[in-house]
Amino acid sequence: MTEKATTVNDLLKNAQELRAQVGGDFHEKVVEGIFTEAAQIADRSVTRAGEQPRFDLDRWIDRIVTDKRWGFVLMILLFTLVLWITIIGANYPSQFLSSILLDKVHPWLKAGAAAIGMPWWLDGLLIDGMYMATAWVVSVMLPPMAIFFPLFTLLEDFGYLPRVAFNLDALFRRSGAHGKQALSMMMGFGCNAAGVVATRIIDSPRERLIAIITNNFALCNGRWPTQILIATVFIGGLVPAHLAGLISAASVVGVALLGVGFTFAVSWFLSRTMLRGEVSTFSLELPPYRPPRIWQTIYTSLIDRTIYVLWRAIVFAMPAGAAIWLVANVNIASVSIAEHIINFLNPFGLLIGLNGVILLAYIVAIPANEIVIPTVLMLTVLVTGMDAGAGRGVMFDMQAGSDILNLFTAGGWTLLTAVNLMLFSLVHNPCSTTIYTIYKETGSVKWTTVAAVLPLVMGFVLTFFVTQIWQIVAAVL
């Protein structure tokens, strides 16, 4: 054993000596050797058939989409178009689903439960709590997801996203971050946990940490539906009907771009304070444009993303629905637990232009952002005591649009609340899955805490200032 150990040491020592002999450019020589060899082999087996086509379509498209000015304009227009199609298209299936799940199935389940003599609390817990939370998730979230994800995946399949990364690269470098962060951010637009894992493509630990901490500013799957719904109900309602879809889409794009802006700002801040260092360079290969295989893309994005996210939402919504029903129906001193909590959170909530209901919903929704809207709706019904035949603490039947607006208005919501909710949805702590992923990737409690707490504090500060300024302006006007 000892004999072998000395041989190992000999080998390593010898290697070190030889390394000194061959000189510092050894690595370059090896790489050069490989390159030369590869070039020779490739040269022998590749033949160029005839003349190159004079018109190169790929290069022509690239010149436009990566143009210094028009690249950005085109990017914003494309994303607005995608969201506009989503908002317009989601309305009808959403109404259809809620009319089935909420108008028909819910009364039918209630009648069934009554027929078999189910005790009221079990009936409430199962049907008014768990079933209704799930039904909300399906009818509010499924339609936008089923349209948005395939469209986004088509853009991805076509090869557009690396061009976006190319466009953003200069900005990332200027904020002291790695250009590849653009790619992990793109992944974050799907799921932040996936985005955090994707930062592995960044070599430098410093730049990787920046990318991990700021990934949360990319709006994820779970938050797009919140943005789309609130924008449709409140912002779309401000303008004439024929403009509503476009304006709502534009406001969601605005929030997403604000997220990108925060990514730059926080990267810049981190790279000048906690994570100082040099920017490393890299080469980004712009892949050729490939005609998307439309049906296959739609199929896989439905299966992979839509069903996946929906399933995750349902898994978290069912216990959350039960929990919400319980806190809404168990009373302490003749007031339900939920109302106690909401009343406790209300002063702080109102200070930052939100309310106790929203804050409680964000606590409930730590495992999954997907259930924020269902929770908010359920709690608002409870607080306003709105009774639509389904009783207190129950999410009752409503269709996307004006009914939700009426409910929110009754809950004391204003345009300011909606704007702040959209902002807070963008800037708050990551979901628990993402936090856990950050911990696994960094292995550091410190950086996990920074990544979780920093956006939350930022969210509070941001909504506080928006509220104060809004109120001052409103008072002056």
Binding site: L11, V22, H27, K29, S45, T47, Q52, P162, L284
Partner: protein, 293 residues
């Protein structure tokens, strides 16, 4: 427990110039026939006879090949860096069960980024029975850099010359026979997106796995004489220490380059364990396969 008896069987060694992609003797040898027998196992796999690693530059369609063979639907996307972790799946072909590992796309195996380490450590320590290098036919030169590096580590390489449709579109013609002769390993032209050439690819993987085809990969020769001498000296020492190491030259090169990862694996004996791996059963080997990241 299935012993890897097949590759110990004495098979007639074919000269490396004669790499045949398929054996077209009647229906049995016809790829279409075999393709019908391809059983996509997805992730549902208890035991496997052979491990196949899938390497390649970013955005060459590794995940598409992976999905086509395993029946999984790992998300593919037209951008580099899609697969940062390892994805695993399985398929059954020619009465053997294969486990396929989709490695992250990398340009080289020299540098130290995490994804390159994942890929390299798997090829080195995971000791796959076959490593398929997916190369982009329209960017052959750059893609061969990686293929040559993989071929330094392992002999059992199959080149999947993917995206031939795109190469054609750009007016490029690749002579795959010439390429196979130059590289000394089987080369299979495919267009995985349109399901072309996958039967031949399966056959090539199978033939290398069972030892029917023994690739004789070309090693990079164009080093200066001084370099060569240093590498040779170090290699003989490596061989003295690990007589059965299949990639002694590569290890010597890495040591000369001061590769921290390799130095560490020599210090902690991880590299020493490798040599004995061949004699272990599949089950034992599975336990030893490092959980990368």
């Amino acid at each position: 427990m299935i012993e890897k008896t097949t590759d110990k069987q004495q098979t007639k060694e074919k000269p490396s110039t004669d790499i045949r992609i398929m054996d077209s003797s009647g229906c049995e040898g016809c790829p279409a026939h075999n393709r019908a027998n391809l059983l996509k196992l997805g992730v549902d796999m208890e035991d496997w006879d052979f491990v196949v690693a899938l390497a390649g530059n970013p955005n060459t369609g590794k995940s598409t090949v992976f999905n086509a063979l395993t029946g999984l639907r790992q998300h593919t996307g037209n951008w580099p860096g899609k697969t940062v972790t390892r994805a695993e799946g399985g398929f059954e072909f020619g009465e053997a069960r294969y486990k396929m590992v989709d490695l992250p796309g990398t340009y080289s195996l020299l540098a130290t980024s995490l994804d390159e380490q994942v890929a390299r450590n798997f090829i080195l320590f995971g000791q796959p029975d076959v490593t398929v290098v997916v190369v982009d036919a329209s960017r052959l030169e750059r893609n061969l850099n990686l293929a040559l590096q993989v071929m330094e580590i392992t002999d059992r390489v199959v080149i999947c010359l993917n995206l031939i449709d795109e190469a054609k579109r750009h007016g490029l013609e690749v002579d795959e026979r010439r390429l196979a002769r130059d590289l000394g390993v089987p080369v299979v032209p495919t267009s995985a997106r349109y399901n072309q050439g996958l039967d031949e690819l399966l056959n090539a993987i199978h033939e290398v796995a069972i030892g029917e085809v023994k690739p004789k990969p070309r090693r990079v020769k164009s080093h200066s004489p001084m370099l060569k001498a240093a590498v040779e000296r170090l290699e003989s020492q490596v061989l003295e220490l690990y007589p059965n190491l299949p990639n002694s030259r590569w290890v010597a090169l890495r040591l000369l380059d001061g590769d921290e990862d390799i130095i560490r694996s020599i210090r902690n004996g991880e590299l020493g364990e490798l040599i004995t791996l061949d004699e272990l059963s599949a089950e034992q080997r599975k336990e030893l396969t490092p959980e990368v990241v």
